[in-house]
Symmetry: C3
Subunit: 213 residues, 3 copies
Amino acid sequence: MNIEQLGFYVAMAGIIAFATSAVLAVAERRVDLFSAMVLGVITAVGGGTVRDVVMAQPVFWAEDLSYVWVAIAASVATFFGYRLFARRLIFRVFLYVDALAAAMFAIQATDNAWDLGFGLPLAPVILGVTTSIGGGLIRDVLVQRPTLLMSRELYAIPVLAGCILYTLVLAFVPEHRTLGALVCLAITFGLRAAVIHWDLRVPDWATMGHGRE
Amino acid sequence: MNIEQLGFYVAMAGIIAFATSAVLAVAERRVDLFSAMVLGVITAVGGGTVRDVVMAQPVFWAEDLSYVWVAIAASVATFFGYRLFARRLIFRVFLYVDALAAAMFAIQATDNAWDLGFGLPLAPVILGVTTSIGGGLIRDVLVQRPTLLMSRELYAIPVLAGCILYTLVLAFVPEHRTLGALVCLAITFGLRAAVIHWDLRVPDWATMGHGRE
Amino acid sequence: MNIEQLGFYVAMAGIIAFATSAVLAVAERRVDLFSAMVLGVITAVGGGTVRDVVMAQPVFWAEDLSYVWVAIAASVATFFGYRLFARRLIFRVFLYVDALAAAMFAIQATDNAWDLGFGLPLAPVILGVTTSIGGGLIRDVLVQRPTLLMSRELYAIPVLAGCILYTLVLAFVPEHRTLGALVCLAITFGLRAAVIHWDLRVPDWATMGHGRE
């Protein structure tokens, strides 16, 4: 198995994690199978779709439908088998897979935007974060849950850190691109894993208006 | 009147139905005329706009502004004349026109995406459903109503069934394309009409988590 | 300083106004810095992004990152310094800068769409309004505040009036384009300034359903 194949399998694991987490997020809302599939697919491919549209690139899932098929399959499986996730262990494993997927999609999107010379050096960072969290934002808006932006969850900040770091690699040490990508991926995932492991949240003093009212 | 002209008139009736239903949906919210027009237009052309953007096609309403003019006119008329719809009969007629429009836009979009060879065979189905329900989703999000995805209304499932069926026609019996389109249109509309007539809803047992908690 | 440079500085002032108002709008929600930046940037460049995507043009901020840098800086400054805005005077000054920005972005977008011959004569008006209010709509949806469309605030109607007027200038007296743009800008800003100064709102009788229930 070469590096490209590995990337493909990790991406598919990521799609599964995104779609599964989407369906779990609406589990108490008594949605039907159709809604579960729509929300699963939108969460899995929504961020990347916004990225492609903004960059005026062909949307990635139309060129390789595996992304959508896998998202549909994961959504259906979660719809029927979601009780499994009540088991704390499996749920936690999924959190880590989701973190890996978010990190990987972000670094990949940053890399891709950089190659296209799209709005360097800032736009690749923006598109990396968009790819990571865009699908989840659309899902939350569609089901009227508070979005990530309103929560204290430290989800996007590790991703932002990783994308900025990788942009610095691309700008200053482009000859170490592959190594840099792997290191940034590891750092992004590591930060997010630490957040999950120690259940870290944005502290009060770091929010707007703390101690001033 | 040839078949193309017929299609145009049915499309305009559909635009009217979508815009009117949008304005009726916010009738109790005391919106002003500007908001009514914006919501009417977005509901009428929003789904198709998302479809065109995803397929990187020119947006359909910029090439023929009739769609927008008709949506504006229908929104204004509904704003001033909405009491008419308090009459049960007229309201029900509109439900059926809306169902016909949803079916037609879906089949048309599936057909169009297929012709463009866009992500066959799955993407045409996705774009058919998107065209049908996208505008309504955007409207509900903008006015903070629960979206279709959170309701038990059987709106999108007939549309999905019709798009899948029509994709099978295009894949396996392309020589009967026109007949197939009409049959799929009839089936989609028929399913939705049955839903309206008998006031069918997604049963409890078909929702996530039923009987398992 | 020539007219183009002036336009650039006014645009930057507008971006600051949009980003600042976005962060102020979520001040009581205890958002963190990341969310403040995301909401500030989306509000500042969101409307123009939707416009560019619909017109299939390259998104404007990727070609000149100043827009995003300035939006980020304004968001960060507002996050830390928002107590300043508790002072009524400064807050009111910002309302007027925001009004000027909304007017300018709208007229500019109308002008741009007209030049591209995009869906004349209606689409330039639609895109002018979209550019002005689109970013704010996306922000409100992401933080689950009632959108402009649901409020009695007279924000979009002056913009709509200005865009329609400017379209008439472009259609009937194109030889007075520059003068026309300045006059329409002044009228749009003037109307909005009057709304702010006298705290005007959509009256009851102009909303749907008034006096009929």
